[in-house]
Symmetry: D2
Subunit: 264 residues, 4 copies
């Protein structure tokens, strides 16, 4: 299971989310606080927006806590919109190209979860990626495929609908050719302006998703797990939800990938 | 352009090919001898056969000359069948999964060359990989795709025919959707028993391929460029050839990927 | 805390110690079995003896479990004398040069433990390394310094006395300029013929050290923690001991670094 | 021989020096333009100043041109004071800790050149580093030693004098215990406010050093080689010079490391 955190608000140093809080992403990656917490030592990544429409991207395969470049970067770079991810691979070899976030054009994307039995239908998943975005297929993960399929489904025009269609199509493959649980997903994505997040599963075990408004920072934190254990005001996003964070507002809509197949 | 070398014969230390000759693969990677020689600093790899049917595989993204692990390995490991590759990428990011050789089961494979305009038809190339071998698709190169397609075309039963069909299919895509030159290839492959090599191009510029029998070593060296400049007895393989090295014998057959399409 | 394992006996595949046992070194590195077991994700290394007097050395900074090169290597290489190490750094940046084992000439060396307050007297520790071995100082760890000092103290002639003098000198620095606990050490070392191991501490908490003769393998395993939990016949080495494994025999002598300073 | 570039002026994207000019640092690292230009493929590094007194530091061992993280970073980060370096090691193993620039506190430092026969007197060089700065000794290069010695000689109070004393002391060791050429150095250093550069050699072959004021950018570029071949107004710094760039002014003083020993 992976961990992630995203932020939208007044610019802060990346380290204010990534490495400084008591339960920061790097602390979480070390699994220090709780025994049942697995270690996320199989790579990490950061996407951040600065002065350009495209995000900066920094990813590597070593454990986040042992990379001095990362420590330096998050202490120097200030951003009003960014996301970070620590990875626990499931036995497969680690590669930078399999590390989250992924970025194409002005979009960035990360995903915690899985499509059941993905290795068995990976070829069929790849075919769902459009020619336009196929050159961006660098690795072999279901997460990267999901992102590229969603781009082809119109992420630019309607992020919620594009994500519904993409998850719907991959979920259908998992039901036909894969195994249960078919879909589990907590995703964050951004076009450089808004921050989007979704929580969904085909069973009762959707990966956790929380958010919190900080009045001090004038910003939103959206996370797989709360960053400070003594902050009582983290809100859990219910399964089947799509969140749009824009400025100081949040809109939560239902998220139903099976809408189309049900209708069909 | 990449460089490679392969060996079949009485067991020798890998360094006898990889790092010790005056024009060894590592020296070639540094481009020291000739001005027009480009540098191959974008990764390297070795596949070698030992006591097991599957080859050992060692690949990394740094320049071959600066990896102490590689230096140690080639000084310790002795093998009667191995191949090595140094890579010059064309601007794209380096990843271990894009480094040659590739290995699946008992097969190992490396390739110097290209399919013209590959990035534009990569999705269509991936579809040619059979479900059985798709889980082995780890990177994004045309070379890995070629190998996996050939496995599905029956590499186990008839290596020459399988390579003809695989190169024929990718070459057809290059003609339809890519650009000239459509096909250039010098490949080495092995099933752990024989060593195979081929040279082919759709134009007049097939990547070079040489071989030489060493009476001292009782073995074959097959290379993209001669390893010792003072050895006069390197033989050049003509374009459109498929070589089978088995024990102390070599058989050279014609190699004609367009056989089928021409017939059809 | 680090974990390590060493072997002397009839040649076996490295994986028989490194990755295959239920409680193999790689499993231990993941800390899977017991909650209180920390994760060793900050690099690993292997030194093995083959046909040459000098050992092969393979080290990298990523977690041992996620390196496909390591997996391939330990499945191919067979050796009658080798040692392996997984590292948990204490917050400092990881570097291959800080990974164990260390090797100079025909000697290999690894260490689990510490000299208290080492960073405060590192310059004084480095001065203890002789000019002859100083060029081998590549990293910044106390373990590498200990090894190089011991080489200068005559590891070739009397390994036990050389290790006593080296640990004695570094321990004296820790008492003068460092902090408690002054010395904790469980080491393995080899000259390519015998395997040596020692256990020592300046307080009551010497790092654990076990050994076991396998009749099946006709070999000795020497480890920081037992490899199979259902094998009852692991013997614990008492603190203050120096073990010499030679062929099928083991000799255990007392180890007393303060011998000289006490005498002086 | 290494290459480097530094900048002081109105904030620009790092890529404006590192990767975009026709003869940018990355192009230089590939040795593309001139046959006699060696390849700098053994690591790179960047130090830049942002909102904090300490510089950011990003270093890695792969060739600069193949690191997507670097490409992303230099396209996102804007700074008014930074330096970058591409490294050609001389056969030794590459390690991040041996890559330039080095940074301690608010100081950053890089060096092109050598102290003759350094490996033979490295231990004596390390002793010249004061206890205060010894914990920052991470690698094994003469360049890092030079920087740490200079810090102990008072870089904070008088950069020119501190560098003279540090180079003077290392040069004296080279004359006593090393080999000719004893000293060759072109260095850049900064405290986060001013940019300093020096050029010096014990023979006639001091590494080259140029600077140029850009009216467009309102900034100074200081480089080992001109970045644009069509810019005629690069000025060469004479050997035996120490340059202080402060705001839009430059002061060039003589640099004489042997001042003290000559006086003594």
């Amino acid at each position: 299971m992976c961990r992630w955190a995203a932020y939208l608000g007044a610019p802060i140093f990346l380290e204010d989310i990534v490495s400084r809080p008591a339960h920061s992403l790097i602390r979480q990656s070390q699994g220090a606080t709780r025994c049942q917490t697995p270690v996320n030592a199989d790579g990490f990544g950061i996407a951040w927006y600065g002065e350009r429409p495209e995000p900066g991207l920094y990813r590597d395969v070593m454990p986040a806590w042992s990379d001095p470049n990362l420590r330096s970067l998050v202490g120097q770079v200030r951003s009003g919109l960014f996301m970070a991810h620590v990875r626990a691979s499931t036995g497969t070899a680690t590669s930078r190209n399999n590390c989250h976030p992924f970025a194409v054009g002005r979009w960035s994307f990360l995903h915690n979860g899985q499509f059941g039995g993905y290795d068995g239908f990976r070829r069929h998943a790849d075919v769902l990626i459009s020619d336009e975005f196929y050159p961006h297929r660098k690795g072999a993960t279901d997460s990267e495929a999901l992102f590229l399929i969603a781009l082809g489904e119109g992420l630019d025009h309607d992020p919620r609908a594009a994500m519904e269609r993409a998850i719907g199509k991959l979920g259908a493959l998992a039901r036909q050719m894969g195994e249960a649980p078919h879909v589990r997903a907590a995703c964050a994505l951004s076009d450089g302006r808004n921050l989007y997040a979704l929580r969904h599963a085909s069973d009762d075990l959707a990966p956790s998703l929380y958010y919190r408004w900080s009045e001090t920072r004038r910003g939103w934190a959206v996370v797989s797990e709360p960053l400070e254990t003594d902050e009582a005001d983290w809100r859990e996003v219910p399964p089947g939800s799509f969140c749009t964070f824009a400025g100081d507002r949040v809109q939560i809509q239902d998220f139903c990938p099976d809408r189309l197949s049900a209708a069909a």
